[in-house]
């Protein structure tokens, strides 16, 4: 499952609809990206994120 660096996330949500398995949502409170168990490590979010929030 990809890791999320919340310090970098701006909460733009661009990754959410890019994710082919609907594994990303925005968490309550600060609207930062969070990844759920559907993640299959396809890495699309890693390429897409403009502020490098995601890593394996």
């Amino acid at each position: 499952m990809v890791k999320v660096n919340n310090l970098l996330c701006t909460g733009c949500g661009g990754c959410i609809n890019i994710c082919p398995v609907c594994a990303i949502t925005l968490q309550q409170g600060d609207d930062k990206a969070t990844v759920n168990a559907n993640c299959n490590d396809c890495k699309v979010c890693i390429r897409a994120c403009p502020v490098n929030v995601f890593s394996l």
Partner: protein, 445 residues
């Protein structure tokens, strides 16, 4: 599962305007948004402004600065904006070496007062908050923190499936942006033209030393062999700008570009300025959708074309789609025929309008992909005339061809590769020019 007349997906300008219009027309309406805080501006964008004094999609915005009422003159609807604004009087494009192409000058336009403005800059979070207040007052059920995964047509309804809830609507309005999950689920992206995937980062900056406080500045640069556009948009507060870096090749690190622009170029604006990274976006650049309707879902805003509906187009298409739904339900025709007013408007005033070349907006990003910084600077140095004051995304460059005509012999003599580059821009499709960038992209087909 609650059944609504219309379920609106996405609460940006397009979705909020659609929900407000539907609610005010008496329709039972649900508004779903992935963010928990709807009025926060998380997605970086260039046009945090509304173009004024010009037509777009057969309408024109009239703004009353005293009351904050924004009216669409031809379609007869409005919304009230509760926040500060700034008149924008000119639009200047700079090379990184400091020559510029000027669409109007603020000094001349300012003398004309409000009639001289080419746009107004709003505080967008305050605009979203104003719209949300009106949406709620219209009785719309609002569901923040709701991520839509799929839509399905059933007998006489559209099922909108979110992570932990499900909604049903006679109609659905998809306002979920450039990477629309709804458009993907309906199959629109399968055969759609794909240019590339765009990355953007946005900063708020204080104390920039730009020449004029009421001018929007773009810096057109070539960086790592591709185009990066920097937009410096004045905010409606003293000495504050929204500064946005945009690149159509997602491999480019825009935070590094920011360092390059501010530390290694001749532009003197950034010295001593305070900057804070506030938002970003990653979005697919798709070609325009011909018919924004399928299975009782109407598509609006950036969902239907190539990012650049502008805030103007988002508000207008959201309202138009909701009015068409209200008409269809009143007429007892909950189908494509019922909403034909929206589809005919789209076809006549954008998709097949002689005023706009479809996807022409892509051309605006091509200059830095083809010419290097020295060539861009040279080109701007030859275009010293002041062009018509405008920031209209589609008609802005109409005058430029004529101006260019006058300096072609000079360019031919002094830097012929610039003419060759401009020829390539005219002849090659943006998709061809962006082929390499597209190979690294992330299209959600």
């Amino acid at each position: 599962m609650a059944k609504y007349d219309v379920v609106v997906v996405g609460a940006g300008y397009a979705g909020l305007m659609a929900a407000k219009t539907a609610g005010e027309a008496g329709l039972t309406t649900a508004l779903l948004e992935m963010k928990h805080d709807i009025s926060a501006l998380r997605r970086a964008e260039t046009q945090m402004i509304l173009p004024m004094g010009d037509d777009f999609l057969d309408d024109r915005i009239i703004f009353n600065g005293k009351t904050g009422l924004l009216s669409f003159a031809n379609n007869g609807f409005s919304f009230k904006y509760d926040g500060p604004y700034r008149n924008i009087f000119a639009f200047h494009l700079y090379s990184v070496d400091g020559n510029c192409l000027r669409f109007g000058t603020a000094d001349a336009q300012r003398k004309l007062g409000d009639r001289g403005r080419i746009a107004i800059a709003l505080d967008k979070p305050k605009a979203l908050a104003s719209l949300l207040k009106q949406v709620k007052a219209a009785g719309v059920d609002v569901f923040p923190g709701t991520v839509v995964k799929d839509v399905k047509k059933t007998d006489g309804a559209v099922r909108v499936i979110a992570h932990d809830k499900e909604f049903s609507g006679t109609f659905c309005i998809a306002a979920d942006g450039a990477n629309s999950r709804v458009a993907q689920a309906l199959g629109f992206n399968k055969d759609r033209g794909y240019y590339s995937s765009m990355n953007v980062v946005g900063y708020y900056m204080r104390n920039l030393k730009v020449p004029d406080p009421d001018t929007v500045y773009y810096v057109v640069a070539q960086y790592e062999k591709t185009a990066v556009i920097t937009a410096l948009v004045p905010r409606p507060y003293e000495k504050e700008h929204a500064v946005v870096f945009i690149c159509l090749d997602c491999r480019v690190d825009l935070i590094k570009f920011y360092k390059y622009l501010t530390e290694q170029t001749k532009l003197p604006w950034f010295k001593g300025a305070e900057a804070q990274l506030v938002n970003s976006s990653c979005g697919n650049m798709w070609s325009t959708i011909e018919k924004p309707f399928k299975d009782n879902v109407l598509l609006v805003g950036d969902t239907i074309w190539c990012q650049e509906s502008e805030n103007f187009g988002a508000l207008l298409s959201g309202a138009k789609a909701a009015m068409a739904v209200a008409y269809a339900l009143d007429e007892g025709k909950p189908d494509e025929h019922g909403v034909k007013n929206y589809l005919e408007w789209w076809d006549k005033h954008f998709f097949n309008s002689p005023n706009y070349k479809r996807d022409q907006i892509m051309g605006n990003y091509m200059l830095g992909a083809i010419l290097n910084n020295k060539e861009i600077d040279y080109l701007f140095s030859k275009l010293k005339m002041v062009l018509k004051a405008s920031i209209h995304p589609y008609t802005l460059f109409n005058e430029l061809g004529q101006a260019l005509g006058g300096v072609v012999p000079d360019i031919q003599k002094e830097m012929p590769q610039v003419l060759a580059g401009l020829g390539r821009m005219a002849q090659e499709s943006p998709a061809e020019i962006l082929k390499d960038a597209a190979s690294a992209g992330f299209p959600n087909r």
